[in-house]
């Protein structure tokens, strides 16, 4: 009979769960991880990784179409959607095996099945293949993740109306597409299909795209998308979908009056809801906050010994947030000193659309709302040598400082490769540098990163290349 008693059991093998399990073993906890589907979770199998694989191919294709400008002659370039999708599945599969290997190497017991809390540290695992298991642990971390929010009348049907899952494995390229929701997921799919020649329209309920980003970034991205041929309707809501054999007509209510849009396919990307069902919460004191589990700063639920991390514990819905929450939660459980709650203003956020968006910390508006006197700096890609060599003159870097203390409150970027740049500001925030240290840092030339410094200089009226 296998071990049934653990120091820690993690439910869910996504970026929150598997990272927590590995950290727990590092700290000497006997740890098991229960996963009902695929190790790596949505992120690795149906989210971050496959979308980025597809977007890379689409972006290359998009660049190649303008290759003539660079002195490259490419004739008869086409794409093979099937192959693209296959490659995205291959990458996911490889990483999925990688996670299994990491867990094995770290001696985390991996149990397949759907887990359900059974009270007093008990856990019931239903496994279709073998007999059911009863486990117990001093600590249980719920890392069950989230799934796409289903809106009434906009239920995905797998054929004409897609969720992210169907959108990741299209068998043919639709001629036209309606994306409902302009958060990171919606904007990435819009970008992908648009770059491959599909006519894309976006409908957003709020008054701007990427509503979580700084207003200037939203404005910039909207302009850029529209210049690429994407139609955007903000302050607009899809009321109903009328399906024909191979097309859908969406009835939309907007500030500009009612609107009908006929498209081949619809992608619904209108937020996510936590996976809180069928995990035995009813038998516990665990409280819900909307569709998410309510937790304190150490990820503790109201049930002693039960914790929740990642998407199921609420926004921001980001893999790296889940991983960090997990690490903090486990370190607290293990009794480490020097553990501090996750500071949400230090979590970078990335959107891999074309152009990319990356940000960290407070937007200018939020900073002001919180009572900061701010100094704001901006720098444009058009003033950066490296951006021009890459033929990427469209983009911006904006920085927001507290005028009194020089604290970097936020940084907001749009343009090529910014998702790789934002970590510089993340380090700056963690080390609590002020504008002075950022100004004193030597940035290499020629790089896009030079703009990060110029934006800081601009906030203090000292930009050199402006």
């Amino acid at each position: 009979m296998a071990q049934t008693s653990y120091d820690l059991i993690v439910i869910g093998g996504g970026p929150g769960g598997y990272v927590s399990a590995i950290r727990a073993v590092q700290l000497g906890l006997k740890t098991a991880l229960v996963e009902r589907a695929l190790l790596g979770g949505v992120c690795l199998n149906w989210g971050c990784i496959p979308t980025k694989t597809l977007l890379h191919a689409a972006e290359l294709y998009h660049s190649m179409k303008n290759a003539d400008k660079l002195g490259l002659t490419i004739k008869g370039m086409t794409f093979d959607l099937k192959k693209m999708v296959e490659r995205s599945r291959t990458v996911s599969s490889r990483l999925n095996k990688g996670v299994a290997h990491l867990l094995k190497k770290n001696k985390v017991t991996v149990i397949e099945g759907a887990a359900r809390l059974a009270g007093a540290g008990g856990l019931h695992v239903e496994n279709g293949k073998s007999q059911n298991l009863s486990l117990s642990a001093k600590h249980i971390i719920l890392a069950t993740g989230a799934r796409a929010r289903v809106l009434p009348g906009l239920e995905p049907d797998g054929a004409l109306v897609w969720s992210y899952k169907e959108a990741l494995v299209p068998d043919a390229m639709p001629k036209s597409l309606l994306v409902v929701g302009s958060g990171a997921i919606g904007m990435e799919f819009a970008s992908f299909f648009n770059m491959l020649g599909c006519h894309v329209k976006i409908v957003e309920t709020l008054d701007r795209v990427l509503p979580l980003e700084d207003d200037e970034i939203s404005t910039f991205i909207r302009k850029s998308f529209e210049a690429q041929g994407v139609a955007i309707h903000t302050s607009a809501t899809v009321k109903s979908l009328k399906k024909a054999k191979n097309s859908v007509t969406a009835a939309i209510e907007s500030d500009g009056g009612p609107l009908k849009i006929k498209v081949d396919r619809v992608i619904v990307a209108a937020g996510i809801v936590g996976n809180v069902e069928d995990i035995g919460l009813r038998n516990t004191k665990v409280k819900l906050d909307g569709t998410h589990i309510a937790v304190d700063q150490w990820s503790r639920t109201d049930e002693p010994g039960v914790y929740a991390i990642g998407d199921v514990a609420g926004p921001p819905w980001l893999a790296h947030k889940a991983s960090h929450e997990g690490i903090i939660c486990v370190e607290k459980i293990a009794g480490l000193e020097d553990v501090h709650p996750l500071d949400s203003t230090r979590i970078p956020s990335c959107t891999y659309s074309h152009p990319q968006v990356a940000s960290i910390g407070l937007s200018e508006r939020k900073a002001k709302e919180q009572g900061h006197d701010v100094k704001v700096g901006r720098f444009s890609f058009s003033g950066n040598g490296k951006a021009l060599t890459l033929d990427e003159p469209d983009g911006m870097v904006k920085t927001v400082f507290d005028a009194n203390t020089g604290e970097l409150l936020g940084a907001h970027m749009a343009g090529a490769v910014v998702t790789e740049l934002v970590q510089g500001y993340a380090i700056a925030k963690t080390l609590e540098t002020t504008e002075t240290e950022l100004m004193h840092t030597v940035f290499p030339h020629p790089t896009l990163s030079e703009m990060m410094q110029e934006s800081v200089l601009d906030a203090y009226g000292r930009a050199i290349h402006l």
Partner: protein, 399 residues
């Protein structure tokens, strides 16, 4: 010719001051009499007025700079028609001065903070700046960052900025104000250098209280209104006693003893930042009503930090009254360069033996601290005896 604006000496004891605020900016036109800056002296915050017309060409001492020596150049004024090329910035600018082209950036001067044993304090740049801005003593802050590094949350949690939220800190360090430094320096000097001795008398003040009651009952309303306090009687009695013994109204210097011509009495007032002593000029020439109104106005301005230098400079004798707090008696430290300070306690009913009989009287103990270099014991005793006479028979103050 450009005009150099110096740190003014706003009181005789002022050797340095804090430039608390620049009212005018570089490049602004200024007329003589315009307020250009606020200076925090040892006693109050003062406005610095321009003596000439022109343009404020250069600010050489950053806002917030402390310990700016008196007579050091703090700014340069250009007269009409001059341009910046005419600027003769002082050859050896004060420490806060920057090269003319660079705006002062006081936040860019951090040196690595260290403990007294020379060990480096590990602290994030942001936390260091916040600590500086908040005037926080880093030695009192416990770092909770990696390996004890002091980070922003530690500064925010320290009592100075969060009103005592940190359970770990056993005390709060309040940085010295200019005023506090001056009080410390002058009173230490006084207690160390002046050979103090102390004489106490008990004054029976029942008659005085009765007189006060009658006078106040007759007080008119409006402009001539008054409400005479016991302390006003004390001031009047001291003034008249000093008139009889002018040698008490004196101060010691290494060369000579200075006898003052006027009877100017300093009255100690507890202001928010510390003790202030506004001066009642020629107190012997003023009636109780006038004295009362003047002292009241001075005390109010003192508490608001709005005294002008001429209102607190000088004085030949100080009165400190803690009677209203129920203090029975106390011995005060002399306010240099004066020779005497009278410490006034509370008037309270005490048993009094007189002519072999025990009775009850309202008695107030007054203690005179005396500088033995200027005033010998017999003189001080005579002075105190006359003072006691006035207090016990207030009508004699009319003579």
């Amino acid at each position: 010719m450009s005009v150099q604006i110096m740190m003014p000496a706003l009181s005789p004891t002022m050797t340095e001051g804090k430039l608390s605020k620049w009212i005018k900016k570089e490049g602004e036109a200024i007329e003589s009499g315009d307020v250009i800056a606020e200076i925090e002296t040892d006693k109050a915050t003062m406005e610095l007025e321009a003596a000439d017309d022109g343009v404020l060409a250069r600010i050489l001492v950053a806002e917030g700079a402390e310990g700016v020596p008196v007579n050091s150049v703090i700014a340069v004024l250009l007269e009409e028609g001059e341009d910046a090329a005419n600027l003769d910035v002082p050859a050896s600018p004060p420490p806060q001065a920057q090269a003319p082209e660079i705006k002062p950036e006081p936040t860019q001067k951090p040196k690595t903070p260290t403990f007294s044993n020379g060990q480096r304090i590990f602290i994030s740049p942001l936390a260091r700046r916040m600590a500086e801005q908040g005037g926080l003593d880093l030695k009192a802050v416990r770092g909770t960052g990696p390996k004890g590094r002091i980070v922003k949350r530690d500064i925010k949690a320290s009592p100075k900025t969060s009103h005592g939220a940190s359970p770990e800190a056993a005390y709060t360090e309040v940085p010295h104000t200019t005023m506090r430094k001056v009080i410390a320096q002058r009173l230490s000097e006084a207690k160390r250098d002046i050979p103090h001795y102390y004489l106490s008398v008990d004054c029976k003040i029942d008659c005085l209280l009765e007189t006060r009651k009658k006078l106040n009952a007759k007080a008119s309303e409006g402009k001539g209104a008054y409400k005479i306090s016991v302390n006003d009687f004390v001031v009047r009695a001291v003034a008249l006693a000093l008139k009889q013994y002018p040698a008490v109204n004196a101060s010691w210097s290494d060369e000579a003893v200075r006898h003052y011509n006027d009877i100017d009495i300093s009255v100690a007032v507890a202001a928010p930042g510390g003790l202030v002593t506004p001066v009642v000029r020629q107190a012997d020439a003023k009636g109780l009503g006038a004295l009362s109104r003047e002292i009241k106005a001075l005390a109010e301005r003192a508490r608001e930090g709005k005294l002008a230098p001429e209102e607190y400079q000088g004085g030949g004798f100080t009165i400190s009254n803690l009677g209203m707090y129920g203090v029975k008696e106390f011995a005060a430290i002399i306010n240099p360069p004066q020779s005497c300070i009278l410490a006034v306690g509370a008037g309270e009913q005490r048993p009094v033996a007189e002519n072999g009989e025990l009775s009850v009287a309202t008695v107030m103990t007054c203690t005179l601290s005396v500088d033995h270099r200027t005033v010998d014991g017999a003189l001080a005793a005579q002075f105190l005896s006359v003072f006691k006479g006035f207090m016990e028979e207030p009508l004699t103050m009319l003579l």
